[in-house]
Symmetry: C2
Subunit: 511 residues, 2 copies
C-alpha cells in the first residue's frame, strides 16, 4: 500500500493494527545518498573497529534523507499454513510545520538519485506528497510551546514573543503603525456597541498582528475572543469575536483540540515508528545498520557520539532486530549462499534445499510478484527480506528432532541471530553486537604499509608473495592494511626500503 | 519549450539560433535551497559590505543545486512593431558521466522544496530527466583523459590504469583468475585460426577486463581490435575482432567519433551557457546576483575567493547584464514602483504611465498568459522579467526629444543600468558594480549595539527615541547595527549601562 501525506491519516489505524497482529515485521529504507565523505573503500575499511565504523557512518551518512520507508508485516495463519502479509511503502519528507519550525537541510548524492531514477522512483511522491515527521525532541518542544502559549493567552499575557521590557506597559506602537492601530481600536469599539458578532480585520503583517494582540489585550481585557485566521490564499488576518465567558471557554477548547490535531499531524510518520517500537515485535532487515541509524536519527533523536550509547538507544527503539545478510553469511548458510545481496539471496532461497514459504497478500493490499522484480522499492525490498528470513528459519527447523517445517519468529533456533547487525566489508568482525561487547579479534598479523601512489593491489600481492595468502584493505592512494595469514610471519626488519611499514595498532588508530 | 535530457540534443540548435538572432535575453534560475547557514537576517545584513555579502552567499548558498534554468529570447520585429519571443525551460541535473567521474552532492532545503512543490514543480523532470553538464575544468579533464587513453591504446600501452610496476612484464594474474584468463587466451587463439570474425567474451568484472586487456596486449600485439561493449542490461563484456590494418584504423576512427559525441553529451547544458556567453547579448534578470553566481559555479568554474576576481569572471561569462530589480528601485522608477518583487513589478508595468509591450510567441513555442500566473517556473519568470525590462526601457524613451516609443537593448538610455547587480537589503549600497569599484558610503553614524536577548526592535526604537529616525540591522539575538539619521548624533559616553555600545567599523569587520 502506498502511503503519502494525502492518505496517511486514514491509513495509520490500518498500519498500527497490522503491526499489532503481526508475528514479525520486515523493514527497508531508501536514502538520498550513501556517503558524503571519503570513497567507499575508506568509509568501509576492512579493518575498521566497530567504534570506527559507527563514527564514520554517523559522520558521513546521516545528512542524507531516508525518504522511502518500507514495512511489511507477516502474520502466520495456522489453518492455512501460510503467512498473510501487509506491505506498506511510505514516502516521507520533513515539510516544515510552520514558519518557526526547523527548516531541515539534507544532502542528495547524484549517483544515488540517478540510480533510484533508473529504477523508476517517483520523486514527486517524496517532495510533493511526503509524510512529515518530528523527532522526539521536536515533538516535546512543539507541545511545550503550544502549552505555554495557551497558558499565557488564558492569563492575558499574550504570546511569548511579547515578553520584552516594553510590553509591561501598553504596546509600543512605532510611528508608522499608529494610524493603523488606531483604526483597529475604532473598529473594535464599534463592534462592542453594534449588533455584529464578529469582526474580520484586513490581512496584515506578523508585526502588525503582534501590535493588535498587545493593544487589544491591554485595552479590552474581557468579552473578546481574538484569533488569527488564514484565508484560502494563505493570507493571515485577525478575527475578533464578541463572547460571554462560556462561549469563550468553548472556543478555547475547540482551538486546543485543533492545535492538538495539528501537532499529531506534524509528528506524522514518526507515529509509525513509535507503533513498531511499542509492539516489541521482531524487526527483520537486510544489511540494516544504515536503516536503523537513519530511522533513529530522523524519527527519534540525533545519534549519540558513543557506540555504547547508540546500542542502548537502538535497543529502546527496536528491542529485537535480525539482519538477514548476517544470517546468510553465517553457518550453516555461509557455505550454501555464495552471494548475499538481497536480490541474489531471494533467488537462492527459492531453490533446494530451501523452500519458498507460502504467502498470501491481505485483502486490499497490492500484491507483489517476485518474478517481476521491483527491487529498490522499499516496500518490495522489505517483503522479500521477510521471505528470505522465513526460508532460512524454516531450513534451520529441518535440523530439529523431529524436524519442523514451520519455525516461528520466537523460536530458539533463530535466537542466535537476534540483535546482531551485519558489518559490511570488515574482515574479522562479522557483526555489531547490540546487547553486549563486540568481538575483538587479534590483529597482530596486520601490517600498515605505505607505497607509491601508482601501486595497485597486484603490486602488493607480488611484494608479499613469499607470505602466502594476504588480504589488502586500502586506506588511500598510498597506504593500506595488509593482513598476513599467520601471526608469526610478521618480523620487523625483514623488509627493506622503499617499502616502509609499521606494526599496526588498528584498534586504537583514528582514521 | 520544456527541455530535458530526452530532447536536449534535438533542441540545442534551436536554442543557439534563438540566442544568435535575439536582441536581448532574459534568464532565471530555480534552486534546491537558498541559505545553508545563518538565518536570512544574518545572511543579508543591512550593513554588509559587497565583499562580505559575496563571501556569505558563496559560503552559504553554492551547495544548493540550480536545477531549473529559464531562458527567454526577445527579438524585435520592426515591421510588426512587436517582440518575437522564444521561451525555454531547462531541467538540469549532474548525472555522473561514468563510474570514475565526480559524484556531485548537493543540499536541499525543505522549505524551498516545499515551496516549489506547492507551485506544482515537477521534481521527476529534474531527477529523472535533467540535462547533465560539466564545468570547464571537468570538460578539459575528460577530454584530456580521452586523448591520453587513445594515445596509449595506439601505442599498445593500454589504459592509464595499467601503468604500474607489474605491467612492464606480462600481466600479473592472481591465482584465482588464472583459469579464467587461460580460457580467454584459448578462445582468442581459436578465433585467429577459425573462420569467425568476432568473439564476444562473457560479461565479467572490471578487474577481469583489465587482466584481459593486459594479457591480449602482451600476447597478441597485431591483428586484433579489442573493445568493451555494454549489453542492454548494462553488463560489460569484451569483444575481440579480427582486423587488418585498414579496418583497425577505421574502427578506431569510429570509436573516436563516438567518444567525442559522448563527451559533447556530457558537457550538456553548459553548451547553452557557452552559447549565451559567446553571443555577448544583453542578459536581463530580476534580482539576479544568485542566478549569476550559481550559473558560473555550476557551468564554468568554482567561484573565486575574491570579489574582484568574481567580477572579472562574470564579465567574461556575461559581458552585459541588467538587473530589473535594480532598475525598478532606481530613479525615475523608484517613486512609481512601491513593490519591486517580480510578480508585483509585472503587474505595475502593465498600468499607466507604463505600456505593456506587444509580444508574440514564436511558432512552435508554448505561449504564456500573464493573466494565468505561472510564477516560479523559470521559463515564465524569465519571460516576465523581459517584459518588465521592455516596459521600463520604453518609459525612459518618453523623456527623449523627440520621445521614442521603442527603446532597443543597445540604447544609451538603458546603459546606466548595465553590469550593476541589485544587492538585497543593503541600506546604503544599492548594487554590486561589476565594472568598477563599489560605492563606499560613510558609515560613521552607525552604532554596534548589544542588549539582552529578550529585546525586540521596538525596544531599540524606544532606547534611541531621542535621536529621531533610526534604522536597525539585526546581527543576532543580542546585537544589531543601529543607524542614526545624522552623523553628529553619535557621541560616546552618552549611553549608560546596561546598554553597551561601540563605534562600528563595518567595512573592516568580519561577520
Amino acid at each position: 500500500m502506498e502511503v503519502t501525506r494525502q492518505n496517511f491519516k486514514d491509513t495509520l489505524k490500518t498500519v498500527c493494527s497490522a503491526v499489532e497482529e503481526a508475528d514479525f515485521l520486515a523493514i527497508d529504507g531508501e536514502f538520498s545518498g550513501i556517503s558524503d565523505g571519503p570513497n567507499v573503500s575508506a568509509l568501509t575499511n576492512g579493518l575498521d573497529t566497530p567504534e570506527q565504523r559507527y563514527a564514520k557512518l554517523k559522520k558521513h551518512s546521516m545528512d542524507f534523507l531516508l525518504f522511502q520507508f518500507g514495512l511489511c508485516t507477516f502474520k502466520y495463519d495456522q489453518e492455512k499454513s501460510k503467512y498473510i502479509i501487509k506491505p506498506f511503502n511510505f514516502y516521507v519528507f520533513p515539510k516544515p510545520f510552520n514558519r518557526t519550525s526547523p527548516d531541515l537541510k539534507f544532502i542528495c548524492q547524484s549517483s544515488s538519485i540517478d540510480f533510484l531514477a533508473s529504477q523508476g522512483f517517483d520523486f514527486n511522491k517524496v517532495f510533493c506528497n511526503g509524510i512529515p515527521y518530528l523527532n522526539q525532541d521536536e515533538e516535546v518542544q512543539l507541545r511545550e510551546q503550544s502549552e505555554e502559549r495557551r497558558n499565557q493567552q488564558a492569563n492575558g499575557v499574550g504570546t511569548p514573543s511579547f515578553i520584552s521590557p516594553s510590553s509591561k506597559g501598553p504596546a509600543h506602537v512605532p510611528e508608522e503603525h499608529k494610524d493603523f492601530i488606531n483604526r483597529v481600536i475604532g473598529k473594535v469599539e464599534a463592534l462592542l456597541t453594534n449588533s455584529e458578532k464578529t469582526l474580520d480585520l484586513e490581512p496584515c503583517t506578523g508585526f502588525q498582528r503582534k501590535l493588535i494582540y498587545q493593544t487589544l489585550n491591554w485595552k479590552f481585557s474581557k468579552g473578546l475572543h481574538v484569533e488569527t485566521v488564514e484565508t484560502e490564499k494563505k493570507e493571515r488576518y485577525i478575527q475578533v469575536i464578541k463572547v460571554d465567558d462560556e462561549e469563550r471557554k468553548r472556543r478555547e477548547q475547540q482551538k486546543r483540540e485543533r492545535e492538538q490535531e495539528e501537532l499529531n499531524d506534524a509528528v506524522g510518520f514518526s507515529r509509525v515508528i513509535h507503533a513498531i517500537s511499542k509492539s516489541g515485535k521482531l524487526v527483520v532487515g537486510h544489511n540494516m545498520l544504515l536503516d536503523v541509524m537513519h530511522t533513529i536519527h530522523q524519527f527519534y533523536c540525533p545519534l549519540p557520539e558513543d557506540l555504547q550509547d547508540f546500542k542502548e538507544v537502538t535497543m529502546c527503539v527496536f528491542p529485537r532486530l535480525l539482519d538477514t545478510k548476517l544470517m546468510a553469511s553465517t553457518q550453516p548458510f555461509k557455505e550454501m549462499i555464495t552471494n548475499t545481496s538481497l536480490a541474489e539471496l531471494e533467488k537462492q532461497v527459492k531453490e533446494a534445499p530451501f523452500k519458498s514459504p507460502q504467502v498470501e497478500t491481505a485483502e486490499g493490499f497490492h500484491s507483489y510478484d517476485t518474478a517481476q522484480e521491483q527491487l529498490h522499492e522499499a516496500g518490495y525490498d522489505a517483503y522479500i527480506t521477510g521471505l528470505c528470513f522465513i526460508s532460512m528459519a524454516n531450513y534451520l527447523g529441518s535440523f530439529l528432532t523431529p524436524p519442523k517445517a514451520y519455525i516461528s519468529a520466537h523460536s530458539k533456533v533463530v535466537e542466535p541471530f537476534f540483535n546482531k547487525l551485519f558489518l559490511m566489508r570488515i574482515i574479522d568482525i562479522p557483526y555489531l553486537n547490540l546487547t553486549g561487547p563486540d568481538l575483538q579479534p587479534k590483529r597482530d598479523h596486520v601490517l600498515f604499509v605505505t607505497f607509491p601512489k601508482e601501486w595497485k593491489t597486484s603490486d602488493l600481492y607480488q611484494l608479499f608473495s613469499a607470505f602466502g595468502n594476504i588480504q589488502v584493505s586500502w586506506l588511500d592512494d598510498t597506504s593500506a592494511f595488509v593482513s598476513l595469514s599467520q601471526t608469526d610471519q610478521v618480523q620487523i626488519g625483514e623488509f627493506r626500503k622503499p617499502y616502509r611499514y609499521m606494526r599496526s595498532f588498528c584498534n586504537s588508530r583514528e582514521l
